[in-house]
Subunit: 385 residues, 2 copies
Amino acid sequence: MAKRARSRSTNTGNGNSRLKVRDKRTLGQLRNLADGVVTAANRSRDPYVDIPTRSLSNVKYSPRKRIIEMGKNTNRRQLFNLSQAKSYMQTMLVGSGCKRLIEQGKTLSIRGLYYMLKHQIEGTKENTFEEQGECDTVIEDTEVLLDSLREELHLYADKRGDMVGNITLIDSGDEIDCSRMGSGGYAIPSIVEPEVIQFDRKKTTAKFVLHVEKGTVWQRFNEDKFWKKHNCILTHGAGQPPRGVRRLLNRLHSELKLPIYCVLDNDPWGYYIYSVIKQGSINLAFESKRMAIPEAKYLGLRSVDYSRCDLSSSVTIGLTDNDRKRAKQIASYAWFEKKKPWQREIQMMLDNGFKLEVEALISKDISYVTETYVPERLRKRDWLD
Amino acid sequence: MAKRARSRSTNTGNGNSRLKVRDKRTLGQLRNLADGVVTAANRSRDPYVDIPTRSLSNVKYSPRKRIIEMGKNTNRRQLFNLSQAKSYMQTMLVGSGCKRLIEQGKTLSIRGLYYMLKHQIEGTKENTFEEQGECDTVIEDTEVLLDSLREELHLYADKRGDMVGNITLIDSGDEIDCSRMGSGGYAIPSIVEPEVIQFDRKKTTAKFVLHVEKGTVWQRFNEDKFWKKHNCILTHGAGQPPRGVRRLLNRLHSELKLPIYCVLDNDPWGYYIYSVIKQGSINLAFESKRMAIPEAKYLGLRSVDYSRCDLSSSVTIGLTDNDRKRAKQIASYAWFEKKKPWQREIQMMLDNGFKLEVEALISKDISYVTETYVPERLRKRDWLD
């Protein structure tokens, strides 16, 4: 693969040459990391790396960009420091593992990388990693350190979520027409970077993306051919959308300029999913700039839907103490705090004393959500922002 | 839809006409159920239904058919019996809900059906159902009562699992060429009955199915284009495969005569997944005849792989007490009990004192599992049965 692509990427949809350019950049960053060690050693100085701090204290909401960002704090990790030597070694190990993957043109799950790197350190009884969690932390460190998404390091998490609709894309050289994907749909991959997935703009007529929370709700929309009637793309993320789905939504929005509308449950978890799609997650704030979609809209369910849609009390689910606690936390997030409609929304759920699942609309009619609820909200441009 | 299909199905791949035939049968069974009530009432007798007992005591392994089957015990559910009246009502309610779905040509998630049927009974403060679990039980009752899979009742569960490989199928009229599905793959739907999915035998060249446990492992096999090199189909079920995946494997085996090879973790959970694919599950024994694949082979991982593949102790995971308990339970299943290779397999895991994930093979080489492990097992016809 390396030999085939000699020219610089021209963004023509040639996966291999683009891969090469991006990989070159990532490899360069990995080499810089290693060179730092050599340079320090040559000068008889202690090798170290300064890793941006991934903690709540170093995360803030940028009102201008409308995403969660990391601050400038870093933690120094030194080789010659008893409490830091192991994590220093682990950082280098992850770096070398990713280098191997990129050079071989292969990708691996984070579980796979853990197994690849785990071994007993020669002459000791110590393992390089004891648990997956240790390795995951270092992977995240490496991402921020190199300013590379883990997908650029050739790593992936489990995949979930499907897509159908009026879009044609190229996935690893195969043309996928998402308007001809039957009842099953196209399974959204873990890695949807431009090297893997290119959009065919000419064959893509969709005007917006409808993102729903659950696969079962997605099936209802697909069966009713909502995407055909409304000329859109239909996605779901099986709950909290995994990175692949979030990144794909981001690319559909930023590259194809498609609005993203979310249909989620009227509960703290639904609010939270929206918040992560919109502004990014606190844990992984460094990826917000390529994952978050500040313009994403929350179409529903809303607390007002109980009376607005004339739902029966039998389809409500009482809030638990934990729901109330989470709702208040979310209401105090910087990005919700200053929005009166959101404060009213969350307060009304607390006043209602119950939550509502999207499926509750089925009590009106099997296709109420696809034929009435969503079309009406769209027509009236009635959503939360 | 009903009007379009007048002739009996001729198995020509016309989804609508086939749907009609199958739906007619299911509707007939639902009407019989309702007629029973009317007949009893007309004769001034107590209405009742006899529901096959879904408990361990009424489940047995058939050595001849090599699947788990239900016995002949039934429970009578009477309308004029204080303790049974509610579940009698619920059974009729589920029956009428499914009738509505079939007549409208729509399908619904089991969560959706619960919401559709849940309401306060007029003049009381009693709800028809309090919780999803109540409704699920009655759905299962209705399945056995009518000898219909829930998919035939137009109900579906959440979907998981993907497919790629040398097979072309028709899903709801769309031709899906699974050899051109990129890195994402075709998302296996919940309902894969012949009305929805038809195989294109001419365009399907695959010689077998490789089913792996996890999506991340599936991605490794897909990236290495294992299915292309070995002319096969590659599936996963994101852990314990959901009904859609099991039914699809069953159809691939029974209709296309493809052998099914499973690559699962070397732990009690992996053994259990294999056992469900092969003989069916105890809970849902009545569906075994259309779900189970007695000829499915267990390709690995095996307990012997630790020494056979020369793995390092650092990739082993110690057995917990619960693992040991589960392993002994599984060893005593009727369908494993008489098979010496399986008894040796499970005993060796207990003797090893550890389990092994498929990903542990990555410690040998990133593509060891796709380029060495599985090809060797297949070539040597080395599997457990």
